[in-house]
Symmetry: C2
Subunit: 363 residues, 2 copies
């Protein structure tokens, strides 16, 4: 078996690879099962479909004009996002999902002589980007409560990046705390990755007009139910946006297709649907947190559409397997040791949370 | 005025830029005019809309499932493309337009100790990628007839890349010539960029099973009328495909959105529509070539959906301006000097070609 695997790997390798390919350890996304009967609580997707207005906007853009390239600058989409947050278009960048934007940020704003800092337990794509662009980094351990403590970041650095709320822990930092960090860290870029911000965490968006070294990234994948369309955006001073534009125009001038631009515009404009689905998810999270507590789980405070939780006695991997055998997929990270007992559970509908609880409950 | 421009530039710059951003000279795509009354013959889009089956496939994919991430490996799309060309899925890579795939190829397969080679007059994104990834390159002059001559490429190199047919000249190389090159160039990767191959140039796709250093890239933007959807693909030995996958999974695991995957599958499967629209375009090109000859233009032989042409007497920039004043946009490259009299004209419908000719004809 092992022998066969080695042959398989050899067959896949090639003497033509560049050095960077040999060194890479790619990111591994959560499982996307073919079996659609599984309840997917593993990749933090929204349990509600996109707004009906978004579906309508996409359908009405399916026209002969798909033969033409999209607007390379996504002007209307950037304008809509800027308008929503009371900023100007020159403060907004959009990309093919926030992962693409993070890649541009790492390449263009975080490759410096000094190492960049991020938490030891965080979005596992960060060290992958560092590998892709040969960026030095240093991980800063979360504190004893698995939270980010900014006083540990008060050292010379090439940049700082963290998700707010953090992933996979879900714990939020307050706006005051972030502003404190920005006041003491003025010589390098600070990136606040707000993929999950809309579920009860304060956004730092409005700080970008005051701090020229701040980048805030957001995503339409979670709170706007558009993971399938790949639309991410970033906010910053126009000097930093210009840097991202230069990278984009040296990589792929047309990153966001016509239908994704149309979907994004309709999604940002339908505030009613966004508010309603977000409220439902926060209510389902509150309900799940209460039930988990009663079942002897310990759950970190969450400002996200997921919770990070462990049972005080039972083994995390066994709970993961039991759930999978019962048709529910959650995320379990074997490493590092410190979080190996935790499960990251995406918040679904109230009905889905009840289904989850019925399996977790002792028989 | 100059003073104001400098202030504008300064406002856009930032002390937080990484070194790479300062050095970049981004690609400049052809103009995408807001005025939809202009006849766009400047960015090689297809004059026909996507196949009705493609439009239908997209519309029927606009569902609640857009809340879920797309298949990160685009398995069904890769399978359809492989099937079309009689290859296996492990020989096929897909991306967010072939520009994204070219970027991955430059980063993963063309960054070597030796300089890579490409023509001096070619797709102007190639030197931009070299800037983005700090890749050494050497341009090889086209011959006196503005054609690629492979005997000029017989030197040690870090890789070779060229479009077939070449852009913006449109001239094709035969399959025999490309195989000759592959026989003598075995130590580095050879990339054949076939963005325009479907309009009368022989594809090298079937050579990938015999040459482990060959990568062939194609696009759905032109011959499948899907520039607005961003779908590109590449063919190679599975060792090279694995390299591209590693880069992709270290950059953005979900590059192709759900609707783009659905569109791509339907487009590759509708061979009838593809054959018909391609035939129309080749006929319109033949017609235009004949008319240009009669009007004292000199046109390079084209295997693309555009022609590269110059008037034997009249100034290229003046013809460009005259066309623009009459509502027709073509592409004119001021540099290098050697091609400054040429215009690159996208082939449209027969009616559009007649409209163009009526303006070019001496009054």
């Amino acid at each position: 078996m092992l022998h066969q695997q080695n042959i398989g790997l050899q067959r896949k390798m090639s003497r033509y690879w560049g050095d960077i390919v040999k060194k890479l350890t790619p990111y591994e996304p959560g499982e996307q099962p073919k079996n659609s009967l599984l309840l997917k609580l593993n990749t933090n997707e929204n349990p509600y479909g996109p707004s009906p207005k978004v579906m309508e906007a996409i359908k009405s853009s399916v026209q002969e004009s798909l033969r033409l390239y999209p607007d390379p600058e996504s002007n209307e989409l950037r304008g809509s996002i800027a308008n929503y947050y009371g900023l100007t278009k020159s403060n907004v960048f959009v990309g093919n999902g926030s992962d693409e934007i993070l890649a541009f940020i790492f390449q263009g704003l975080l490759k410096k002589d000094l190492p960049i800092f991020f938490p030891d337990i965080t979005y596992s794509f960060y060290p992958v980007y560092c590998g892709l662009y040969d960026i030095k980094y240093k991980t800063i351990p979360l504190d004893a409560e698995l939270k980010i403590n900014f006083s540990d970041y008060k050292k010379d650095n090439g940049g700082i990046i963290f998700p707010n709320p953090n992933a996979p822990t879900g714990t939020p930092k307050s706006l005051d705390e972030i502003e404190e960090l920005l006041k003491i860290n003025k010589d390098s870029v600070v990136v606040v990755d707000e993929a999950y911000v809309d579920f009860g965490t304060e956004s730092s968006v409005n700080l970008v007009t005051r701090y020229k070294n701040l980048v805030v990234t957001q995503s339409m994948s979670k709170s706007r139910s558009l993971a399938g369309m790949r639309v991410g955006f970033a906010f910053a001073d126009q000097g930093l946006i210009e840097a991202l534009s230069r990278i984009k125009n040296s990589f792929n001038s047309y990153p966001v297709d016509r239908l994704a631009q149309a979907a994004g515009i309709a999604a940002i404009n339908d505030k009613g649907y966004f508010t309603k689905t977000r409220k439902n998810i926060i209510e389902a999270r509150t309900f799940l947190e209460k039930e988990l507590l009663e079942m002897n789980f310990e759950t970190l405070p969450s400002g996200a559409n997921f919770v990070f939780t462990r049972h005080r006695i039972k083994n995390g991997n066994e709970i993961f397997k039991k759930l999978r055998d019962s048709g529910i997929l959650v995320r379990h990270f074997n490493k590092p040791e410190r979080i190996s007992q935790y499960l990251r559970i995406t918040i679904g509908t109230m009905k889905q949370m009840k289904q989850l609880i019925s399996i977790l409950k002792p028989q």
